[in-house]
């Protein structure tokens, strides 16, 4: 062990501190990892249930991140653990996915719910850094509800020829949401087709 005076002491000390930090973080991660994953899934389920109140459970496609939503007829509950699972081969009642738009203050995270025929069921803002009082109004339900039932051709603000009223003073934020949704649907086309074909 190096003494406090020696040149090696700072190196040894800092190495020990970092090692201790690594051990502490590994332990904490070990304890919390599963709980965090479960919490996240529960949070996603609640968000999806806001758009699809009839949903009972969902599955996620690993590659594209597309959620397929199922109602109670497709879900079985394990009597002992209470955990639910989706019967294979079931028909989804809708789809959802995360996408993002380029807003005024950075990325706007958007959750998009799609009907089986790929019309928009509704959208929710998951995260944003838009200006409070202006762009932040994109989270208001009155703005978001305009997207319900729109087909891809109408998904734009009025100034761009669409059917969505932009928020006064926040054209960039409003446009970012509309463009984010359109881009998301384009990105998901392949995954949606694959899921559609995979069905019975």
């Amino acid at each position: 062990m190096a003494t406090k005076r020696s040149a090696a002491y700072p190196i040894v000390f800092l190495t020990l501190v970092v090692l201790f930090s690594v051990v502490a973080l590994t332990l904490v991660n070990e304890v919390t990892e599963e709980r965090i994953a479960a919490n996240k899934r529960e949070a996603i389920k609640q968000m999806l249930a806001e758009l699809f109140p009839e949903m009972a459970d969902f599955t996620q496609d690993e590659g594209s991140g597309l959620y397929s939503l199922f109602d109670t007829s497709a879900v079985v509950t394990d009597g002992e653990t209470g955990e639910t699972s989706v019967l294979s081969g079931s028909l989804p009642i809708g789809y959802a996915f995360m996408t993002d738009g380029r807003g005024y203050g950075g990325k706007i995270g958007i959750l998009v719910g799609l009907e089986v025929d790929q019309a928009v069921r509704g959208i929710r803002i998951i995260s944003h850094q838009e200006t409070p009082g202006l762009g932040a109004k994109i989270t208001q339900i009155g703005f978001l509800d305009q997207f319900a039932g729109l087909s891809p051709g109408e998904l734009a603000i009025r100034r761009d020829g669409g059917a969505v009223d932009a928020i006064t003073g926040a054209t960039i934020s409003s446009r970012a949401v509309a463009e984010g949704v359109v881009q998301g649907i384009v990105d998901m086309t392949a995954a949606l087709e694959a899921v559609g074909e995979g069905g019975p």
Partner: protein, 204 residues
């Protein structure tokens, strides 16, 4: 005991981290747009500052002078990560409302500043007093700034979704500039000038 109280009150007025030491202004300016944010940030700062001060104070005899700053940063970053994971695992709803402020604590110079200026030179008791005092001082400052910004920027006062009151005239036509970054600079500059003028803070 007297020095405990002295160190505690020191952070609130005489060495207020925000208004006198001008430490940690970046997160202060960034999140002081509403009272909810201010409360969340204060809680997070209190916890991390307390833990960091105690650990640094305990280790102060063994920390080599030449690598003290990296040591402090490793300790603080580890603490912040542990807090973040623990909140996500065991208090999900709280972590959702505090989520964005937890990582901001790492870049809050108050924590590093107190480790360097106080905890590495004083015993655990005094470091605890310093941490609590500094956190209260920080809390008072950020609440004050948030109060002014939220009131002028939205024209009404709303705490945790409970509307307290709104200012007639201003509520329909709020001065949104106070919610923008430049508004933060206006408010903190005017408050600083006010405190100097009132003689609360004297130039050292």
């Amino acid at each position: 005991m007297r020095s405990f109280v002295k160190n505690l009150t020191n952070g609130i007025v005489r060495s207020n981290p925000t208004f006198i030491l001008l430490l940690g202004l970046c997160p202060t300016l960034a999140v002081s747009t509403s009272l909810d944010n201010a409360v969340g940030m204060t809680g997070a700062v209190l916890f991390v500052l307390l833990a960091a001060n105690v650990i640094v104070s305990l280790l102060r005899r063994w920390i080599p002078n030449r690598v003290r700053i990296p040591t402090f940063i490793v300790i603080i970053a580890t603490l912040v990560t542990i807090v973040d994971l623990a909140l996500q695992g065991f208090a999900w709803s709280l972590s959702q409302s505090l989520g964005m402020y937890i990582p901001l604590i790492v870049v809050n110079c108050i924590i590093l500043g107190r480790a360097e200026a106080f905890a590495s030179r004083n015993n655990v008791r005094q470091s605890v007093a310093d941490a609590i005092g500094m956190s209260i001082g920080f809390g008072v400052a950020i609440l004050l700034i948030s109060l002014v910004r939220q009131l002028l920027g939205t024209g009404s006062l709303e705490v945790f979704s409970i509307r307290l009151f709104s200012v007639p005239g201003l509520a329909d036509n709020p001065a949104s500039i106070f919610l923008l970054p430049m508004g933060a600079f206006f408010v903190i500059g005017i408050l600083l000038a006010l405190f100097r003028w009132m003689g609360v803070s004297e130039c050292e």
